[in-house]
Amino acid sequence: MAALVIAEHDNLSLKAATLNAVAAALQCSPEVDILVAGNQSDAAAQAAAQIAGVSKVIQIDAPNLADQLAEPLAAQILALASSYTHVLAPATANGKNVLPRVAAKLDVAQLSDVTKIVSPDTFERPIYAGNAIATVQSSDPIKIITVRTTGFDPVSAAGGSAAIEKHAVAADAGKSAFVGRELTKSDRPELTAAKIIVSGGRGLGSGEKYQELIAPLADKLGAALGASRAAVDAGYVPNDYQVGQTGKIVAPQLYVAVGISGAIQHLAGMKDSKVIVAINKDPEAPIFSVADYGLVADLFTAVPELTKALG
């Protein structure tokens, strides 16, 4: 039996997280199909057909699927689920939103934020903000899984040649409607896909200082911008910058933590980064316990110096 991956897309293009979910799916089953449910989603469906290892793309187009609302999207997945042993989605805001709806209707458990496929019915997932790793086994006939993308190397976005099958849309009660979206505008790499991330914390003291110190350093490094919960709560930056247990989970090649003390909730979101740099004036800050390179310094002088030296 095959596995079904729910594509993360905006109708025009696929989000990179889909590739990590396909990688996890291929460890569950040799046959992996992918669902692109959207509106006028031909471009996304064609991109999905190129993914290495995908057998078939199922495309469902309808106006109420344009914005990935949980209710109509769950209805499409439910109509397909009985043909599959595994249904997977990346553990993004969308994946987390829709899959539990599917699991409950199928009367099966969901495995959230899976970091390792031990066998097709046994999985590893972090609990307690990543302070423990649980190995759990599911006896349900269909495994519903959200995939922590940092746990799986992405498959190639090219090289595949899957057929695209168009399916009719399943009915939805129409009790939810999309009103609007306010996306943070940025020319920088996306946080969860970036190779380098520069994150700022409360040590910066203000949103102005964040822009004045963190943004130029990120520009020099070609990095995405991140933040601790404290910095987001204090209003320095928008919510979607938050890295941590309840924000985004990242694992870039290089993570630079500036003025971040390192609460366990923040460490949960970044401690799988390949190289961690911490700049903090407090030598006792917990961030240094996970840092490969620690610099005890006043960030207001050290960061501009670093930015300048990277010239």
């Binding site: 409950a104 307690y128 423990a132 599911s138 969860t192 390949k274 610099l295 310094a297 030296a309």
Partner: protein, 249 residues
């Protein structure tokens, strides 16, 4: 409008848990327990909706051992009107909790259900969505703003690229994100008042719900430790290390 709020008793967010030496789980004996922080935000939101005249009654529910009554008392002190404890010593997984809550929503005929988006112990992020699914009603997850008018809830959600707003026909399930509100401090007079409020106790069997776990935990282990790093003297030394040792810039 009646609001039902679900709260979970979890290990306090300041506690760093330890994995048991036999790898059967984490050691939660003698550690501080508190209300799941997202659930505290849920209770606060319900109380604010009542203060704004939108809600008429707030029923707070918890499921678990008898000690969950302390968590319910906290919710009553924040301003919930009455409480229900679904008492069980058995392990409860999200699907089972969603089924218990569905049974209570059916009984109470609540119009809005507010839950934390995720419990900080099992980090599942499932129960609210599962409850909405079982009730066949819409959901507004990861909410940072909730406005109720004319039988509809306008919910602003924290999504990956920023914010999005949905219009949901009530009844609906809302799950809270961190920025929805800042829960008030509980005052002594309100703690005293909460002691007089009613906590009804029911058993899962009374609600006709099978709570048997679907997932079996085989083992729980410590995460791999990062090897100790080095402290560098200055910015120049840092750049040298990143260029020549780590080779990441």
């Amino acid at each position: 409008m009646k609001i039902l709020v679900a709260v979970k008793r979890v290990v306090d967010y300041n506690v760093k848990v330890r994995v048991k030496s036999d790898n059967s789980g984490v050691d939660i004996a003698n550690v501080k327990m508190s209300m799941n922080p997202f659930d505290e935000i849920a209770v606060e939101e319900a109380v604010r909706l009542k203060e704004a005249g939108v809600a008429t009654e707030i029923v707070v529910v918890s499921a678990g051992p008898t000690q969950c009554q302390e968590t319910l008392r906290t919710a009553l002190a924040i301003g919930a009107d009455r409480a229900i404890l679904v008492e069980t010593e058995s392990e409860l997984q999200p699907l089972a909790v969603a089924k218990l809550l569905k049974a209570l929503v059916d009984k109470e005929q609540a119009q809005m259900m507010i839950l934390g988006k995720q419990a900080i112990d099992d980090d599942s992020n499932q129960t609210g969505q599962m409850l909405a699914s079982l009730l066949d009603i819409p959901q507004g997850t990861f909410a940072s703003q909730v406005v109720v008018t004319d039988g509809k809830a306008s919910v602003t959600r924290e999504v990956d690229g920023g914010l999005e707003t949905l219009a949901l026909t009530l009844p609906a399930v809302i799950t809270t994100d961190l920025r929805l509100n800042e829960p008030r401090y509980v005052t002594l007079p309100n703690i005293m008042k909460a002691k007089k409020k009613v906590i009804d106790i029911v058993k899962p069997e009374d609600l006709g719900v099978d709570i048997s776990p679907r997932l079996k935990t085989i083992k729980v282990e410590e995460p791999p430790k990062r090897s100790a790093g080095v402290m560098v003297a200055d910015v120049a030394a840092l750049i040298e290390k990143l260029k020549n040792e780590a080779k990441v810039i």
